[in-house]
């Protein structure tokens, strides 16, 4: 049985741009998949195809056990979508926004009213419930948008860059909300450009580049692919570099790289903190004075770089939004 979100060979082209070039996804029920990639990688297009907003040129998608192409309206009943922009009506109050969405999910007017009040409480918007969304801060709008996506407690959620443009405090707040949601059993597909966010929230990560999934695994598995941990040392005196290299290579699993101008030496290791202590002792015995030393684990940025050959940064806009006409 396929997962709560399943896609096979999704292809979508806009003119010359292959926004999706055969994407396969499988998200088991109750888990979070982080779709990680730079702008224009095809993340938004993938979400739009899975949420019935866009018809893929080819491929198959099943969400909550329903075929997205054959039963789009059934799918819409089972999903919540929180897009890249806080899609709330700024001239309606928070309460009116949620009631409207509830009614459009075909809830009875009075049920929609009760549900709206519940969500406003839950998302810490009760005080602002009867102000127009125009007066809300960016973080409040995002919370309202997320609340709107949760009106019917959909079993499957899609969030397209939920924290883009938020300050760290609001991002942290939204992360808490998302974690609570997932602990309740919701299946979530989340796109992000923030490697830290995928690391923090997702059980599984799919790295997307040029419309393809180029790597897939847990955050630890992906990091392991870049060769695991390493020791970095900054020596105080340039003259000590050769001796230090000798010491590090003795402990390391490979060659030591040297950055002359910063006096920084790096060597891949395995053995963690215990090994680090031994390295420090040995450097001390040899009389090498150090400015800094540390055990570095690869970040997802390193992962991205090693997988794609380029850093996870913006490319010229190839977003579906811009090119569809």
């Amino acid at each position: 049985m396929p997962g709560a979100i399943y896609a096979e060979g999704l292809v979508k082209t806009f003119g010359d741009v292959r926004a999706l070039d055969g994407v396969d996804l499988d998200v088991p029920e109750g888990t979070v998949l982080g779709l990680l990639g730079p702008n224009g990688a095809g993340k938004t297009t993938a979400v739009r195809c899975l949420t019935t907003l866009l018809r893929p040129d080819s491929g198959r998608a099943v969400v909550a056990g329903l075929d997205v192409l054959k039963n789009p309206n059934e799918v819409r009943r089972s999903i919540g979508l929180s897009g890249q922009f806080a899609a709330v009506d700024e001239y309606l109050t928070g309460r009116e926004n949620l009631q409207m969405v509830g009614q459009l999910y075909q809830m009875k007017a009075k049920d929609a009213k009760v549900r709206a009040a519940e969500l406003l409480d839950q998302f810490d918007l009760a005080d602002a419930a009867d102000r127009t969304a125009k007066t809300y801060s960016g973080g409040m709008r995002r919370r309202l948008d997320l609340a709107a996506a949760l009106v019917v407690s959909p079993p499957v959620m899609f969030m397209d860059e939920p924290t883009t443009g938020l300050d760290p405090r609001n991002r942290q707040l939204l992360w808490e909300v998302i974690k609570r949601l997932v602990s309740g059993g919701t299946t979530l597909l989340l796109t992000t450009q923030y490697l830290e966010e995928a690391d923090h929230l997702a059980h599984d990560i799919a790295v997307v580049d040029h419309g393809r999934v180029i790597a897939r695994g847990t955050s630890d598995q992906l990091k392991a692919r870049t060769g695991g941990e390493r020791v970095e040392v900054v020596v105080h005196d340039r003259e000590h570099i050769p001796t230090a290299v000798e010491v590090l290579t003795g402990f390391g699993k490979g060659d030591t790289t040297v950055e002359e101008h910063t006096r920084k030496l790096t060597v891949p290791v395995s053995g963690g903190a215990k090994l680090l202590a031994e390295v420090i002792r040995e450097l001390d015995i040899r009389g090498i004075e150090i400015d800094d030393i540390g055990l570095r684990r690869p970040t997802l940025d390193d992962v991205f770089l090693s997988l794609t050959g380029h850093a996870a940064e913006d490319k010229p806009e190839e977003n579906a939004k811009e090119t569809v006409k």
């Binding site: 019935t52 907003l53 009943r77 089972s78 009614q103 459009l104 959909p154």
Partner: protein
């Protein structure tokens, strides 16, 4: 998949038509609330037609010949049907801008991801615009009366016929908002929808019988004016208001203006509603 099947879902809709009506009303209500919170939009929408009433009456009034008469009162009575009709068509721009704005802000994406009736977002918008158009017409009629407009200048006043004329005007305005809806879905920005929704209305409303007697136009232009769907409603209103300056042309819409007005408006609704709903289903911001 227990969590999937057990989760609270929206109630399954009864019949599709009922759902469509309900969803449209939810959206109409939303747009009316919006309009009530941006009263300046409604007010600006009123200023232009009021200016036209006043300017045409006092600037052109003295120099226009209507049915052989140069009386300014005759021109005022002739003019109002034209201004009313022009005003209702200008609702096109509001509908277009509103829908383009919804696209721009990602609201259309939200609506399209909900299990709601496909045409409801557009129908709700056009219904809300219809309410606004009715309000505008009401204010405009009062202003028209203030500058001297009277129905039944041939001595016969029939309230039912006057109401029928306003009914035709509302239907024309409703039809034109569907053109606006299609424009709003086709352009990239609300600003483009506003100007794109207005520009073409000038030739449509001026190459007509709205402000002048078509009998004085060059023949080819006259034919266009007399077959212009917009002219049919203007002529129908003049007939129903019993106002002067009714066209005596042999063109079918001028001879049967009420039918022509009804047929044109219904046709516009059918065509543009179909196109707009199709466009909406594949809409991408």
């Amino acid at each position: 998949m227990s969590a999937v099947t057990d989760a609270v879902r929206g109630t399954a809709p009864g019949n599709p038509l009922g759902q469509s009506v309900r969803d449209s009303l939810v959206i109409a209500k939303r747009n009316l609330i919006r309009m009530s919170r941006i009263p300046e939009m409604v007010i600006f929408g009123l200023i232009q037609p009021i200016m036209f009433v006043v300017l045409f009456t006092y600037v052109f009034g003295g120099s226009m010949q209507i049915g052989g008469s140069t009386s300014a009162t005759d021109y005022t009575n002739f003019l109002m049907a034209g201004i009313f009709a022009q005003t209702v068509t200008f609702a096109t721009a509001g509908a277009g801008a509103g829908i383009a704005d919804d696209m721009h802000k990602g609201l259309i994406d939200r609506f399209r991801s909900l299990p709601m009736a496909r045409g409801a977002v557009l129908t709700g918008r056009t219904l809300a615009d219809l309410v606004q158009t009715a309000l505008t017409l009401l204010v405009l009629a009062v202003v028209a009366i203030l500058v001297g407009w009277r129905v039944g200048s041939d001595g016969s006043t029939d309230a039912a016929r006057v109401l029928a004329a306003f009914g035709l005007l509302l239907l024309l305005g409703y039809a034109f908002t569907w053109i606006g809806a299609l424009i709003g879905l086709s352009v990239r920005t609300p600003e483009a929808a506003t100007s794109g929704g207005l520009i073409w209305l000038f030739p449509v409303t001026f190459i007509s019988n709205a402000f002048v007697d078509t009998g004085n136009m060059t023949p080819w232009l006259r034919h266009i004016a007399e077959w212009n769907p917009f002219s049919a409603t203007v002529q129908a209103c003049r007939v129903l208001f019993a106002n002067p300056g009714q066209s005596t042309s042999d063109a079918w819409p001028m001879q049967h203006p009420v039918w022509a007005s009804l047929i044109y408006s219904v046709l516009i609704i059918l065509i543009f509603r179909t196109l707009a709903v199709r466009k909406y289903r594949s809409a991408t911001a």
